[in-house]
Amino acid sequence: MNFTPTAEQQELMNAVREFATRECTPERLLAWENDAGGIDDATLRAVAELGWLGVGAPEAAGGTDGTLVDLACLVEECARGLVPRSVTGAIRAVAALAELDPAQPLLADLVAGRKHLALALDEETARSAASYRTTIGRDATVTGGKAYVPDALAADVHLVAAREDGGLGLVLVENRAPAVRTTAVKTFGGDRQAHVAYERAPVAARVGAPGGAETPLARVWRRQTVLALAEMVGGMDAVLAMAVAYVKEREQFGQKIALFQAVRHQIADMGTTCTAARHLAWQAITRVASGTEEGFELASAAAYVGQAFKRVCWASHHLHGGAGFVVEHRMRFHSERAQSLCIRYTPEAPALAEIAAALLDS
């Protein structure tokens, strides 16, 4: 057993940490919130030049062919430092496409930051592929609607999952009106979501065999979930560190509030939660990465970590009081991301259902 990253991974994490400390200041976080792309062009170019967008892409596409563990290290640090979700979204999209079709020519543009890809999967009333209503017609066009698609507005291309003859298909569609109409939807969490309507939108390229996308997409989704675990762990650590720093400094009734046992014990519980979450998450990350899962590690981590992040955020808000409630404060960015990541990637009910089935029905 060894709970530490490799030297290379640590180097990558340090680089992200330095970048985030320098770039992701409260002023810029607020400014990026009002930017259509969620980040300014110069910063996104800087990120692309650092090579982060290509960690999940093959070398032929300009990437570094990193492992899922490398990606997890990367996004954990991005989340810790509140690097804009457009960046982690781009890292995720590249990784997903590279897993599905490593030879896809679009990858090189994505890695270089010249183009952006959105993963258009969920629908207003469908979260599982079996329930999708969007279809790929025999004329190679897509019709239907996708909902809550992160970064959909600014994306040049959408990777759309839709029903077709014989099963589920995955296709690339250019985000171009009038066949594709993208409407921003105001949500929290900073991942720039939009609803998308496809009306006989032409398929630009197929990803994988027609009708055979169910299994590859499920695999990709597990890996996306794994990355969410890493993001949550990074965010949670940051939230705990802020709370610890604050209670050591804030004075009330003539003393540091950390001296109150009721406050100290909340820190202790937050610390315990973060520690358990970190290890459940990283056990799942490493096992999924190496294909050595022994049971329901991913479900167990999903059930624990998402809830843990939210719990730690609320405790930290409580300890910060009004000081942490102003819009400039980093706390609320983390709290929004906690719920946003949890809803999308680690909802508790299906994770518990999977565990119950493993315990009781096998």
Partner: protein
């Protein structure tokens, strides 16, 4: 980053499992339930002898003392497997007293005591607490005064579990009455057959026997004070360090949870399978997640120990988590089994070995014993996150 056992650790786990397969059977499990008394019936003794023959009493001991010097992760694996199998755990003589003597005893004291411990000729009860010194251990009042070449010991120890079976007692006594309270305590060995030693049974709620130990002008040789005078409080803290892996182990809770799950899989009530009840499914799944989390905290303690640290904060996290989780498992177990959930183990109809109501009774002790959870949370705040003390 690697959460899997190394080949060496896997091989060790397999060895422990094979031993358990050969030495643990239903009659041993039944005895540990029936004796209701710290697992020291004839079958348990035989099991502990077999562990000793294997050299496993010295799992954590340095090789210089005939130990196996296993890593903390390997010790964690051992504890986890033994507890999950419901087998008796190693005696505190082997896991707490012996390593303390190895660290702090004089060469003469090591020669005098360690071979007897190794041969299981002597067995210790541990006497730290007193009626007025529980969580605040440093206020203990039992005192020892030097009279020529002998200590004269007077006082009363509480929760002196195993004293009625032990040959010796390992007690904390005040030897320096004028020193600050943390610095006036020493560790001392008292033979149970010394004149002036008496034991009174105290039965506690889960059906276990513990004891009060009375010391009335008990005379012990001067050399029975182990280590340095006045350092006893710190030695007790050090001894606790040796127990961290056991205290934070989720093995027992996991064992009873498994028994519960097995009952739920097959039981029917009102013509409906219990496992189809959504409330039961959700509750069990939540507990399973928490068991997974608790195992991680225990492992974290072991990994930190192997890195050479004193994982005070980590082990406190594990202790709090496991104790509070055990309460939840006990409560859920009783409720899920319904009316059967209150049944004692000796009833033939008892499900899950009748352990749910027993777990319900013993669980509170896990939270207040071994350092209350409030103290553990303070330790996490101070040691883990550097919160100020004043």
């Amino acid at each position: 980053m690697d959460y899997d056992l190394s080949p060496r650790e896997s091989a060790w786990r397999d060895e422990v499992r094979a031993f358990i397969r050969d030495h643990v059977d239903e009659s041993l499990s039944r005895e540990t339930r029936e004796v209701g008394n710290e697992g020291r019936g004839p079958r348990a003794r035989k099991f502990l002898d077999a562990l000793r023959d294997r050299g496993w009493w010295g799992l954590s001991w340095p090789e210089a003392y005939g130990g196996l010097a296993k890593t903390a992760v390997e010790q964690w694996i051992f504890i986890d497997e033994i507890e999950t199998a419901g087998a008796p755990m190693l005696p505190l003589t082997a896991t707490s007293v012996a390593p303390t003597i190895m660290r702090i005893g004089t060469e003469e004291q090591k020669r005098e005591w360690l071979p007897h411990i190794n041969n299981a000729e002597i067995d210790f009860a541990l006497g730290y607490s007193e009626s007025e010194a529980g969580t605040d251990l440093a206020s203990l009042r039992t005192r020892a005064d030097l009279d020529g070449d002998e200590w004269v010991v007077n006082g009363c120890k509480m929760w002196n579990t195993m004293a009625h079976m032990a040959t010796h007692n390992w007690i904390a006594v005040r030897t320096e009455p004028d020193a600050p309270k943390h610095k006036g305590i020493s560790m001392m060995i008292v033979p149970m057959d010394a004149p002036g030693v008496s034991v009174q049974a105290i039965w506690v709620w889960p059906g276990l026997r513990t004891n009060a130990l009375f010391l009335d002008n008990v005379r012990v040789p001067r050399s029975y004070l182990i280590g340095e005078r006045g350092m006893g409080f710190y030695y007790a803290a050090m001894a606790l360090n040796f127990e961290r892996l056991s205290i934070g182990s989720v093995g027992m809770a996991r064992r009873h949870f498994r028994a519960l799950v097995n009952e739920v899989r097959t039981r029917e009530i009102d013509g409906r399978r219990l496992r189809e009840d959504p409330w039961v499914r959700e509750r069990l799944a939540r507990l399973q997640v928490e068991i997974d989390a608790a195992r991680m905290l225990g492992l974290e303690t072991a990994v930190a120990l192997d890195r050479g640290g004193v994982p005070a904060s980590e082990s406190s996290m594990a202790k709090i988590y496991v104790s509070e989780l055990t309460q939840k498992i006990a409560d859920a177990g009783c409720e899920i089994l319904g009316l059967n959930g209150q049944t004692h183990a000796q009833e033939p109809s008892a499900l899950a070995e009748g352990r749910m109501q027993w777990l319900y009774r013993i669980a509170p002790m896990l939270a207040f014993g071994g350092g209350t959870n409030e103290v553990q949370r303070d330790i996490i705040g101070f040691m883990g996150y550097g919160l100020p003390r004043k």
